[in-house]
């Protein structure tokens, strides 16, 4: 039989699966297919395509038979299968707050790390990149995070293998070892109904990543290549060489005037470059004999905008998905490997470049490798870098070579066996691993001013990680037709082991001589933690309308003493599919309406030391020995411990509504939630004399998060030539600390946090009871009649006529209150235009750059050198640093166009019968940002802008070939 498969608009559907009589094929780019070797007679043909209802039809076959099929889109994708923890459900039956983004909706362009694929796409999750360095990670927060001192990172599960959040030496971000091109879907689990099955690691949300799998049919190749150019958009406003000279000549002493150079150097221009990157991926997917497979390889090379910054990554993946024993045994094997080679630029150059004297040259003949440096001549004639001066930014970059190589391999084999005697019962075994080896070297020549005191560096480091996962569960699904019910029961066991081996080496100077006092006490260290879990879930569906779901997980963690080791994390949910009720069943407008209510308890243990419940002694490093008599002894120090440390617990209440209108052309969801974390793993002051420190991480404190999430997606226009899709999401989250100490005390200010650059130990934020986390905690600036701040004059808020710590006040926070995302795509014939916009509202930023270099003291530096300043000095007129003035906190709300893309689908470039399809695309990323913030970029998760590595504007050209 042969024919063509068309969609609802009459356009051909390539890639649809047609099967009949035990044979199957895939439609070609024209939607055409041929199946041969079928016996004559009546035969059942089925046609499947993702997002469409399955067509099953009995046709008579007699010789060459024509059969054309027209598929109808499945209503709102409600039959789409969504991955949840330990299983899948159809979207219509979901009981939890779950958002899914599939590859067709990913952010496009130059995406180096996977989390950036869904930035701005999902309500309730904020993804803030850590800057513009190639491969740098992001701060990911699901519903604001639930913790204070412990981790706020979500659990990330790839193909059923939970990753550890531990960093990998030599990689700026562990996720940068994962090739985004291998990813098919992201599923974000948000409420407890969805996450509680992950128990003690679920409080900060769970992100499930599914990678691309083998497909049935003949092998299909895909090759994509991208060329990207990166460019820094904006530079910081500092004094021009002329203005600088003018200032020094007017205000400087004779000695300072004599320091002026004769050059005109724009140091920011010197440290940044327009850089290039390329990302190439080749994949083949198909079926070999009866085994579906996918093999892919990727090569990425990205040069940073900061001179000397570079990332090179080679990735490979193999997936096979055979089915054995009459499809009773499904096997999924995923193997992925990555190799990265990085050179990390010395990011200290960013700060040096804004404050280095613009009248000095880059190069000059001297003993520091011929880079101009501020130096002093000793009485004996030796020239020594001024220890307090800014270092030459170019020397910081060029004279430091910081290279790393990281190998990582992860994967799993999952066996799903549906019992021959009882097909409703599945046994599922999942064995996974994640190993990596990171190593690197840092070299600075002996004559470089940056490490002059130790005569250069020649250091190396190495770390091996070996994580293992073993899981087994049984799943029983049964339709109980007699009582109009369906039950779906899962019970399982999990074992997770995380082992890291850290090697210790002495420090060497550039001549490879061991730096005295740096010899390690131990050659290596092997921290290890293990988690054991039992979990179960039952979903009961009555009449396709009412769904009751409950899950429970109990986790045992080696991080806690045996008596506190086990935690129990239950959840319950009720879902009402309102549209199945008679009064809506026939509605033309409302195609889906579902109410979800859930409650559950999750835990969190990440971010605390592995052995903090045990009384231990630690041996000091070689630089911290103590002399008794003539011998230096390594010191054994008793370590603070908390015998009773345990999980922190978050109870989440969630109410949500899913809706679909006009046969699913518009669909969306609304969720409101309330999260209450108790027994926070919180570092608090303890009564002194009761332990071997003045603070300890223990279970004290409560924090609350409440929020609203809303998402709507719609096909605004849908015709054969023109379509317009748009999606919008909105998040409101507000947190409040409700308790911080064992003993309630109204006079306790809270935990100072938010360390800044400038002074020693200055902080600008605080976590206080009754306030948002990371509220600013500063003095209230007093202004004169013209609106100019009065230097060092602050409001006496407590009215005691003294300005001291008691006058610090709390206001605003680094955490945004509202997060908005908007994506849209316009398609006309072969062209399509898309854009993604994101906005954060209500987040405030401490402008540390201004606070540091917005003062004249920085210019005529009393420590014997000149330094450039921000043009800010003309506004504030400050002579000395006023780090603790609220003057430097600014509204960081912004609207950013993340992405603007144009693509052209050339179709069959070698005629309608050829197999070769071509798509071309062009993207611009980080197109513009609208903000009142006066610094370079307000999107900084910590809220402290201190010489942030600028996110470049990126221009991408890409080619995608199918063959």
């Amino acid at each position: 039989i042969s024919g063509q498969v068309l969609d609802e608009t009459g356009l051909p559907l390539p890639g649809a699966t047609v099967s009949a009589g035990g044979k199957a094929t895939i439609t070609n780019t024209d939607g055409k297919y041929t199946l041969t070797g079928l016996p004559a007679g009546s035969i059942s043909v089925s046609v499947k395509f993702v997002g469409y209802e399955v067509l099953q039809q009995l046709i008579p076959v007699n010789g060459d038979t024509k059969f054309n099929a027209s598929l109808k889109p499945s209503s709102t994708g409600l039959n789409e299968v969504v991955v949840i923890g330990y299983g899948t459900v159809q979207k219509k039956n979901l009981t939890g707050a779950v958002s899914t983004v599939t590859s067709k909706d990913f952010q496009k362009g130059s995406i180096t790390t996977p989390e950036q694929l869904i930035a701005g796409k999902v309500p309730g999750i904020s993804i803030t990149s850590n800057g513009g360095s190639p491969g740098s990670g992001s701060v990911i927060r699901v519903r604001g995070g639930a913790s204070l001192s412990a981790s706020n990172d979500p659990l990330i599960v790839i193909d059923g293998v939970p990753l550890s959040n531990n960093s990998i030496s030599g990689a700026s971000n562990p996720l940068s070892l994962i090739n985004p091109n291998d990813i098919e879907t992201f599923t974000v689990l948000k409420d407890a109904s969805a996450t509680a099955i992950y128990g003690s690691r679920a409080s900060n949300g769970v992100i499930l990543i599914t990678t691309k799998k083998g497909i049935s049919g003949a092998p299909k190749f895909n090759f994509s290549t991208q060329l990207s150019a990166y460019k820094v958009g904006k530079k910081l406003d500092v004094l021009s060489p002329a203005a600088f000279r003018d200032y020094v000549n007017t205000n400087g002493s004779a000695a300072q005037k004599a320091m002026l150079g004769t050059e005109n150097t724009d140091w920011q221009d010197k440290i940044y470059q327009t850089s290039l990157g390329t990302d190439n991926n080749l994949s083949v997917a198909g079926t070999y004999k009866t085994i579906p497979f996918r093999i892919s390889g990727g090569y990425l090379r990205q040069v940073g905008v900061l001179v000397t910054d570079k990332l090179q990554r080679t990735t490979g993946s193999i997936t096979i998905n055979p089915k054995l024993f009459d499809n009773h045994l499904k096997i999924d094997v995923n193997l992925k490997g990555a190799l990265t080679e990085s050179r990390f630029a010395n990011q200290g150059a960013i700060g040096s470049a804004v404050s280095f004297d613009p009248t000095q040259p880059v190069y000059v003949k001297n003993s520091f490798g011929n880079y101009y440096e501020w130096a002093n001549t000793s009485s004996d004639g030796s020239v020594i870098p001024n220890p307090n001066a800014t270092r030459n930014p170019i020397a910081l970059l060029a004279q430091r070579s910081d290279n790393s190589q990281v190998k990582r391999s992860y994967g799993n084999a999952q066996f799903d066996y549906s019992m021959h005697f009882l097909p409703e019962l599945h046994a599922n075994l999942n064995l996974g691993y994640d190993i990596s080896n990171g190593k690197g070297t840092t070299y600075v020549p002996a004559n470089a001013a940056q490490s002059f005191a130790v005569q250069g560096l020649d250091n190396n480091y190495q770390q091996n990680i070996s994580n293992k996962v073993g899981e087994f569960y049984l799943n029983y699904i049964k339709d109980l037709k007699g009582i109009n019910s369906n039950i779906n029961v899962t019970a399982g066991y999990g074992y997770y082991d995380f082992l890291t081996k850290i090697f210790y080496y002495p420090s060497y100077n550039a001549n490879h001589v061991v730096v005295a006092g740096s010899e390690p006490a131990f050659a290596f260290d092997k921290p290890q933690t293990t988690l054991i879990s039992y979990y179960g879930r039952a979903i009961y569906t009555f009449n396709n309308k009412y769904i009751l779901a409950g899950s429970v997980r109990t986790d045992g963690s080696s991080r806690f003493a045996p008596e506190n080791r086990w935690g129990v994390f239950p959840s319950a949910a009720f879902t009402w599919r309102i549209n199945q009720e008679n009064f809506l069943k026939d509605s033309k407008t409302i195609s889906d309406l579902k109410l979800r209510l859930s409650y559950g308890v999750t835990g969190q243990q990440d971010g605390i030391p592995y052995y903090s419940y045990l009384p231990t002694y630690a041996l000091s490093v070689a630089a911290a020995k103590y002399q008794l008599g003539d011998t230096f002894y390594g010191m054994y120090a008793p370590q603070a411990y908390d015998k009773s440390i345990k999980w922190e617990q978050t109870a989440t209440y969630n109410a949500g509504m899913d809706f679909g209108l006009f046969d699913g052309r518009v669909n969306g969801s609304v969720d409101v939630y309330f999260k209450k974390t108790k027994d926070l793993l919180n570092n608090i002051p303890i009564p002194l004399g009761s332990n071997f420190s003045n603070t300890i991480t223990t279970n004290v404190g409560n924090i609350e998060n409440k929020g609203v999430e809303f998402a709507i997606n719609g096909a605004l226009v849908k015709s054969s030539n023109f379509s317009w899709d748009a999606g919008f999401n909105f998040t409101y989250n507000s947190n409040k600390i409700t308790r911080l100490t064992n003993v309630e005390s109204p006079t306790y200010p809270g935990v100072l946090t938010g360390g800044i650059s400038g002074g020693t130990g200055n902080t600008v934020q605080i976590n206080s009871v009754g306030y948002n986390t990371y509220s600013y905690y500063l003095y209230k600036q007093v202004y004169d009649a013209t609106g100019k701040p009065k230097e060092g004059i602050y409001e006496d808020l407590n009215g005691d006529n003294i300005i001291n710590e008691k006058d610090l006040y709390r206001f605003q926070s680094a955490v945004p209150k509202y997060i908005l995302g908007f994506s849209t795509q316009l398609s006309y014939k072969k062209w399509s235009l898309s854009t993604v916009l994101r906005a954060n509202l209500g987040n405030y930023v401490y402008n540390n750059v201004k606070a540091n270099i917005g003062v004249t003291r920085n210019l005529l530096n009393p420590a014997g050198f000149l330094g450039n300043v921000s043009t800010e000095i003309f506004k504030s007129g400050f002579d000395n640093n006023q780090y603790l003035s609220d003057y430097y906190v600014e509204n960081g709300s912004f609207l950013r166009m993340d992405n603007l893309g144009l693509s052209y689908n050339a179709g069959k470039i070698f005629g309608p019968t050829s197999k070769v399809g071509l798509r071309l695309n062009a993207n611009c990323q980080n197109v513009f940002i609208v903000t009142k913030y006066s610094g370079l970029d307000p999107e900084i998760s910590s809220g402290i802008d201190n010489n942030f590595y600028p996110r470049p504007r990126t221009f991408v050209l890409g080619v995608n070939l199918d063959f």
Binding site: S378, S620, L688, V743, N804
Partner: protein
């Protein structure tokens, strides 16, 4: 490793003993660049005992003012600190940490523990000495708390580790406790001058007793000057002699050929690195313009603190030409701006060069190897002289002899010798002899000149000419963090 492994051998005991001393000198086990040290809530590099103690004892007085804007630092000189001051919390935390660690060591070196670990004979005897030294170190830290905070929490080896709330001790009771401890351990300690370098002996215990008794009237309202004289005399007659050259007391090789120091905090530019200790006292006292190499810190010079004019003016001639103890860099003696380093004279007393002019090995040309004298003979002479003048039973002639020993060393001859002295002369002599060694605040309090307006110095109370401050500032507040964590504590009056 677990506690049992650490104490498994006598060598292990020695390494814990090293921590009992090293926890006193260094910031933590991780070295100077670790992110956290023994105590938290403060910049690691400034969390050692000496840097904090020095700041609280010296920056609050006429002897020093600092330029930097670190949180809370400027509050010391202008005397408006509060209970949330980070450095006040830092010192209090350091002392209490040290006490808690000593308690643990005292528990672990109990006789029953030794026999259960099969440690006997001379090895057990050594550990008994270690235990007495841990009790001495604990007594020293309690003296610090007594002097600066008055009424701290009180824990001994009989209290547990974990979730328990220590009780508070009143200042007078704490005085009694320290006195009884020092008397109890005196016979248990190694004889004077017989212990290893860097470890406490009988003389150290008596030196602390002398200091304690001299200030007893401040601590308890009861004068104990005769006991001060007795204790000081015990130390004086233990065989210590003045280092012939005053300047050598503060150099990089002051651990050798130094007959004067009774107990020192030991630093080493390679093996015991820190940004506190004498590294701080040397680097922060000078600027890069003062040729740091001549101070033995070629890559240092932090432009931090310098003296107000009151200190150099204690010397009739502060050039150092007559009284060699006057060690100041030339410059502007007036302090017009407290945040300008060149306003006020730099103090060049501590240096990281040896008596022969060499620079000791240092990992980075910043860390110093100069040891800091906690107790030295000169102080005992001064205790003797002051206690006699304050009515203790002793010989005034002997006191004059002692004072003249110091003055003859300072002048290099008898030209500065005295034949009589007043009580006030002793304070001035202490200023000249012991400046920048952590005594000044206690001395001014004992003489009633710390608060109030009967003695002023530039920027006292925040006014350029100086002005009086509230009397309650003779004690520091208990840190608010501990007031909240420990409901048994009552805050000192005024805070």
């Amino acid at each position: 490793i677990t506690a049992d492994l650490a104490y498994n051998t006598p060598a292990g005991y020695k390494q814990v003993l090293a921590k009992m001393y090293g926890g006193f000198a260094l910031t933590g086990n991780g070295g100077p660049d670790a992110t956290v040290g023994d105590v938290a809530g403060i910049d690691q590099g400034s969390s050692d005992f000496l840097r904090l103690f020095w700041n609280l004892q010296e920056l609050t007085t006429d002897e020093a003012a600092i330029v930097w804007n670190d949180p809370g630092l400027q509050d010391f000189h202008v005397m408006n600190w509060t209970s949330t001051n980070i450095m006040i919390r830092g010192l209090y935390s350091r002392s209490m940490y040290h006490i808690t660690a000593c308690n643990e060591f005292i528990r672990e070196s109990a006789e029953a523990k030794l026999s259960s670990r099969n440690i006997t004979g001379s090895e057990a005897d050594n550990i008994r000495h270690y235990q007495a030294e841990a009790r001495f170190l604990r007594a020293y830290e309690y003296w610090v708390l007594l002097d600066l905070f008055g009424n701290p929490p009180f824990v001994t080896e009989n209290d547990p580790i974990g979730k328990f709330i220590p009780s508070q001790i009143k200042r007078a009771d704490l005085f009694t406790y320290i006195e009884s401890e020092l008397k109890a351990i005196e016979p248990l300690l190694v004889d004077a001058k017989q212990n290893e370098y860097g470890r406490a002996d009988k003389a150290a215990a008596n030196a602390l007793l002398a200091r304690l008794y001299l200030n007893a009237e401040v601590y308890t309202g009861q004068a104990r000057y005769t006991e001060a004289i007795t204790a000081a005399q015990k130390v004086i007659s233990s065989g210590y002699t003045l280092n012939p050259k005053y300047a050598n007391l503060f150099l990089g090789d002051n651990n050798v050929n130094n007959p004067e120091t009774i107990l020192a905090l030991n630093y080493d530019g390679v093996n015991s690195q820190t940004y506190g200790g004498t590294t701080y006292l040397i680097n922060a006292a000078i600027s890069a313009a003062l040729d740091p190499k001549t101070f033995g810190v070629p890559n240092g010079g932090w432009s931090g603190m310098r003296a107000t004019k009151n200190l150099p003016l204690l010397f009739a001639d502060y050039s150092g030409a007559t009284d060699k103890r006057a060690m100041f860099a030339p410059g502007n003696i007036e302090m017009n701006d407290i945040t300008v380093y060149t306003d006020g004279l730099a103090v060049t007393k501590f240096k990281n060069i040896t008596s022969t002019g060499a620079i000791p090995a240092s990992a980075n040309g910043v860390y110093a190897s100069t040891d800091f004298p906690l107790f030295r003979l000169a102080e005992m002479y001064l205790v003797y002289a002051e206690a006699v003048k304050r009515g203790g039973t002793g010989a005034e002639g002997q006191a004059i002899t002692y004072l003249n020993l110091l003055r003859a060393r300072a002048y290099g001859n008898a030209s500065g010798n005295i034949t009589s002295y007043t009580l006030n002369d002793v304070l001035d002599e202490r200023g000249r002899e012991l400046y920048w060694e952590g005594f000044r605040r206690s001395d001014l309090i004992r003489y009633g000149r710390f608060t109030g307006d009967n003695y002023l110095w530039p920027w006292k109370g925040g006014a350029k000419a100086g002005k009086g401050v509230e009397a309650f500032r003779v004690l520091y507040p208990l840190p608010s963090t501990d007031i909240i964590a420990n409901p048994n504590l009552v805050q000192n009056a005024g805070y």
